[in-house]
Symmetry: C2
Subunit: 721 residues, 2 copies
């Protein structure tokens, strides 16, 4: 896959118009039922009680009416082409209904029914037939095996699900791969008073994918925050490109995602659940980071983050002020602030003066501001007026504990008022539960995000800060280096023709040379004279390694000599090496010669690598050499291709990055040169899908400005291109 393909892919996705699915004016429910508690009854009921603004056609050949609405015996009996057909009949009957609907001119279908891919065998065949149908007839099909779809927009007001809840209208858009989880999410949202714009349970993804749905939510003006629950992604690249677009530009929308299957056991449970192989969590972690999607671990965080993201006020920076009526929670908030990567505001003198003037002497005027346990709303107002006006404050966390004199509801009103004319994020934390309920409701009415504990407030605020910074960082291009792709292809062709999938080291070096990697000077010498000549040209000391197509474990056969410092040693080493290899592998072993390489000055050793995932493509790996990568597994991954800033982030995200910054007075390493290597590598594996695996190990990194050198490389090709 090269860059042009990527763009095409992304465009194709953008082109998928799912709007008709979300805004039908007529809906037929095939399999509608009079039996309370049945799925076919619940859907009609939810459509009716959800206040659907269009026409509902319950399809049931046996019943006369359902919920007072006259039934039709079949789709063909309806005198119009309905905009949307919701199907709840048993799996074997589904295909026929889709054909019938399509014949009548319907283009949008929701298949609630289960019993398809997830049960394998017959189910999979059914699914494939309907998949083909969708493609051949140009249909939009949601499901099968899903809860359905909700659009709360006033002009549509459609709840085409069999959930127990009719969700509140709001600005959260949710996409979920698990239908059953949706019911829990709806109930939780109801409990905390949050509302949805659109809500889609997409099930088996017979037709379009989470990326299509994500783009669709991005285009919906009522959706301010996109929330996802996924067990696997259909495509990494499309997901990254779509999310990059959605999270940038004049109206970026945050995307929050739960991706389960983090552990091997979890992934196994997911596989048995959805019947799809999830891929490694490292891969998903990389994809989410590149996409700019905030991956959250828990449902609670999902909604906590959504609450701060719903608020339109964006932080200018990470400097945070805390106002509290209790010292302990102030300390908790401070700890949480720092641990989540935010910083404490240092107040301006005028703020300190104002606070000193207005607060009791026993209060604290520094950040966190302690208005003391007996504070009522007026003191909160003075403190908040002062800190929100401070230039050194980017955002404010207000903490209220229920002391004896605390007028919680009045304080909630004050916070709400201040929030209404403050352009900085203000979040509140009403600690406790029973006595705080009303205050929390008041705050929510005022649009002030409200949390139970300081940690939740800070974590959510920190997520908003990270996202805001992400949206403000322009998307950098995929750098394209001038390289010799043709020469490389010829080299690969030749190797494969010779029956070699693992390239001989000298060929691997040549391959990298076509891509402009900084290589340690090397030369393949056919005899001792040539070796001496090469050594003299590149300068002593040198390293020599035997080179031959079948000699994979060079050290074992005496095929490596280090630190050769003069002509005599080169000649001696050459002869010994040839003799030793022949002694061990037979006189007729094919020897191309000796690879002479300049012996490198010591530097930091790093490893760059690529593996190719059958589903997501090439995954780049970076780590420090030796034990850091192998034993401590301190490595970072990104899906190729990578944008320029992503290369930098990839390098910085290993734990031992500090060692590259220079410790104990060392000069910092040339991190920029590593970044360039990563981008070249990214271009290489993206443009040449025949590369199955590639390692550069070690790459020696020198101090800033002195670059890096690839000392050794291994390339394995796929047999089929």
């Amino acid at each position: 896959m090269n860059q042009s393909t990527i763009t095409t892919d992304a465009n194709r996705s953008t082109g998928r118009d799912l709007e008709p699915l979300f805004a039908p004016q007529s809906i037929a429910v095939v399999g509608a039922s009079r039996t309370p508690g049945s799925v076919g009854n619940a859907i009609v009921s939810n459509l009716v009680f959800g206040g659907f603004t269009g026409t509902i056609y319950p399809v049931n050949p046996k019943a006369k009416s359902i919920m007072g609405i006259r039934c039709v015996p079949s789709l063909t009996a309806i005198d119009e082409a309905v905009d949307l057909v919701v199907i709840v009949v048993p799996a074997p009957a589904v295909e026929k209904v889709v054909i019938e609907g399509a014949d009548r001119g319907t283009r949008n279908f929701v298949i609630i029914t289960a019993g398809f891919k997830e049960i394998g065998g017959e189910g999979l065949e059914r699914e494939n037939r309907i998949k083909k149908l969708a493609k051949d007839r140009g249909l939009n099909i949601l499901g099968p095996n899903c809860l359905g779809v909700i659009n709360t927009a006033v002009e549509v007001s459609m709840n085409a699900t069999f959930g127990r809840e009719i969700p509140k209208r709001g600005n959260l858009g949710l996409i979920s791969q698990s239908g059953a989880l949706c019911t829990a999410l709806l109930d939780y949202a109801k409990g905390i008073g949050m509302g949805f714009s659109r809500f889609v349970s997409f099930g088996n993804k017979i037709d379009f994918t989470e990326v299509d749905l994500m783009r669709s939510l991005a285009g919906d003006p009522n959706t301010h925050v996109i929330m996802m629950y996924v067990e696997e992604l259909s495509s990494g690249r499309e997901f990254i490109e779509a999310a990059n677009e959605i999270t940038h530009g004049p109206n970026p929308k945050p995307i929050l995602a739960i991706k389960t299957g983090r552990t091997a056991q979890g992934a196994a449970a997911a596989a048995s659940h959805t019947g799809s192989l999830a891929g490694s969590d490292e891969m998903y972690e990389a994809i989410m980071k590149q996409a700019g999607v905030l991956r959250v671990e828990t449902v609670k965080d999902l909604f906590d983050y959504a609450e701060v993201f719903e608020d339109a006020a964006l932080p200018r920076g990470r400097k945070t002020a805390i106002v509290t009526n209790a010292g302990g929670p102030g300390i908790m908030a401070t700890d949480a602030c720092i641990r989540n990567g935010l910083s404490l505001s240092k107040f301006q003198d005028y703020t300190l003066k104002s606070l000193k003037f207005q607060m009791p002497a026993t209060g604290s005027f520094k950040n966190p501001v302690d208005v003391i346990g007996d504070a009522k709303s007026d003191r909160y107002r003075s403190a908040l007026d002062a800190v929100t006006a401070d230039e050194g404050v980017d955002q404010v966390v207000v903490i209220v504990t229920p002391q004896m004199m605390t007028d919680v509801n009045q304080i909630a009103h004050v916070v709400g008022e201040i929030k209404s004319f403050c352009r900085k994020p203000v979040v509140s934390c009403l600690m406790g539960m029973a006595d705080m309920k009303e205050g929390v409701d008041l705050l929510k009415k005022h649009g002030v995000p409200s949390f139970q504990f300081p940690e939740d407030a800070m974590r959510s605020l920190a997520a908003k800060n990270r996202f805001t910074e992400w949206t403000r960082t322009p998307l950098q291009e995929y750098r394209q280096f001038e390289v010799d792709d043709e020469a490389l292809e010829r080299l690969f062709d030749a190797e494969l023709e010779a029956g070699r999938t693992q390239l001989v080291e000298v060929r691997a070096l040549e391959a990298l040379q076509h891509y402009g990697f900084p290589l340690v000077p090397y030369s393949l010498a056919e005899n001792a004279n040539a070796a001496v000549k090469a050594a003299e040209e590149m300068g002593y000391p040198v390293v020599m390694k035997i080179s031959g197509p079948k000699i994979l474990h060079k050290t074992d056969v005496g095929g490596v000599k280090l630190n050769l410092r003069d002509e005599a040693s080169v000649r001696k080493a050459h002869d010994e090496m040839i003799a030793s290899v022949k002694a061990k592998m037979g006189d007729d072993v094919e020897i191309w010669g000796v690879l002479v390489q300049k012996m490198l000055d010591p530097g930091k050793e790093i490893i760059l690598g690529v593996t190719r995932d059958p589903k997501f493509g090439p995954l780049l790996m970076f780590g420090l050499g030796g034990i850091y990568t192998e034993a401590l597994r301190d490595v970072s991954f990104r899906l190729a291709p990578i944008r320029e800033n992503m290369a930098g982030e990839m390098i910085k995200s290993i734990r031992s990055f500090r060692l590259l910054e220079g410790v104990r007075g060392e000069a910092p390493s040339d991190v920029g040169s590593i970044g360039e290597c990563l981008m070249r590598l990214s271009q290489l594996v993206t443009s040449h899908p025949r590369i199955k695996e590639l390692d550069m190990n070690p790459v020696i990194v020198y101090p800033q400005g002195q670059g890096s050198m690839v000392a050794d490389a291994r390339i394995i090709l796929s047999k089929e291109s």
Copy 2:
């Protein structure tokens, strides 16, 4: 401090009987008030409405009665010595009241009033006077600057606080350094329906400490779980010993603690709040680990954990079964299970057969068991019957999502019933909120811990597993090695007399030798002949270092020679070294000779160290050598002395421990010998308080069975002993 002192300290603490404070039969409230909303009114009101079983005396010279109870003008006007005096008069008047009460025979006081140590100056003086009073007259004084004390025991039923809530009776005992936080905790507990046995806000700790209170709660039969909020500890050693006792023996009680001030900024906020220096978080982390106290980060976790700990059922092991009616949450639970260090049960054949027989074909019989969205309580019952009976199941997590047919309350009943005859922990997770409220209440009534999300359930369960394992691990002794303390003291005396606080290397090695550390063979040679003799005795190759009291930076003055392989090199090195040092430091530089050390075979390098905290005493440090400790700060700490198993945990808890286990086919390192070094070091610094700092860097560790060798050491003494 040596071991006998420790025992004494711990015993002294055990001796403090605070019971009279918790179970008075008469209470005088000095500063009682008729004014609603005042502290003096709230306390009388809480005592009355809390149903105090004894006699209440409101003390107020101006009012006739408060809440219908006839006031007395002063303590002296009461015709009995009241058991407890609660003081709410302004700070300057407090001392007089204490004296008055003590004169009348009262021994127990709660000082609610603020305005003492926390405001410094005058306040501190006031506090010190009352502190002296407590000591001189043998009083128990809680506070000042606190919310008060609650004991919900039926026979006492005392709420002597000015909180807004009268807490439910229950089995949680809470100790809090922050009074204001208490109100939030009480309100939260009310919201989630949890009750307390005792509730103490201890404020400024004028008299007894959190350790006394902890022991007191440990002795209270109504308290099953001890919860703490602390900003600093008064003593690390007493805390560890007390907690070790409480968490062991026939009736171990779990201790959960929030200790704030994790970050430097948080610690600063805490310092300005309580006026006390907290000490480093590393220190606290070490203390909590050694104490066996579960440190929690958030109020939510505090109560979540308390909920599983209240349940008497103890897990036999970490093997966990999951039963769910939704696939997605099952995957979430699996991820959370593994990430929290639990494992998934592998079911026995009979369990699988039973599940296959009873579940629908589309369900999952493997763990997690998916009873499918249409499951009602009967199917939950079958699944739970099967998995709770399985020998491979140590604990069960039941997940319920609100599907259309889900009879939540019936399921709650079933889970409650199964729990009632099951000896394994069973926790539930009713996902959602609005529709789940009743089910949650039912579960709580049945004593089934209930959580909103799988992550919370697993995290809490994992905490219980860790604690259960801790209680089952016998407390190992503080090993006492046979050492030569007297020789060591003489050595220290001599060095200090010579005006040296930093020991010359050879003296540091001698000091360690008195403590039986495995030292690399060394000898101080006064001339070249002696150096040769020493080298030949220990065997070549050797290292030589110049030795003299003023020569601290040996390398800088040419005072170190490595890898000397024969007599000639030793002689040459000796002469060069002497010449170089004299050239650089002057001819009259004091030279003791050269330190000849056997050059060690390579092994893994580690660092052992000690610093002495002014408050908590010696803190042991362990890390791998070089960058691991210095740049990556991958080190672990424990407060000396350490028990034997703690030494092992200390070693295992560094991230790079894997390198000692042997990577890339290496033999594992001799971890046992590191443990012994740590214990010797622990004994050394505990017995010799004059040691201010000590480093052994590096210590070379060899493969298992081959021990370790201390190669270099640095000891700094305090001037005053």
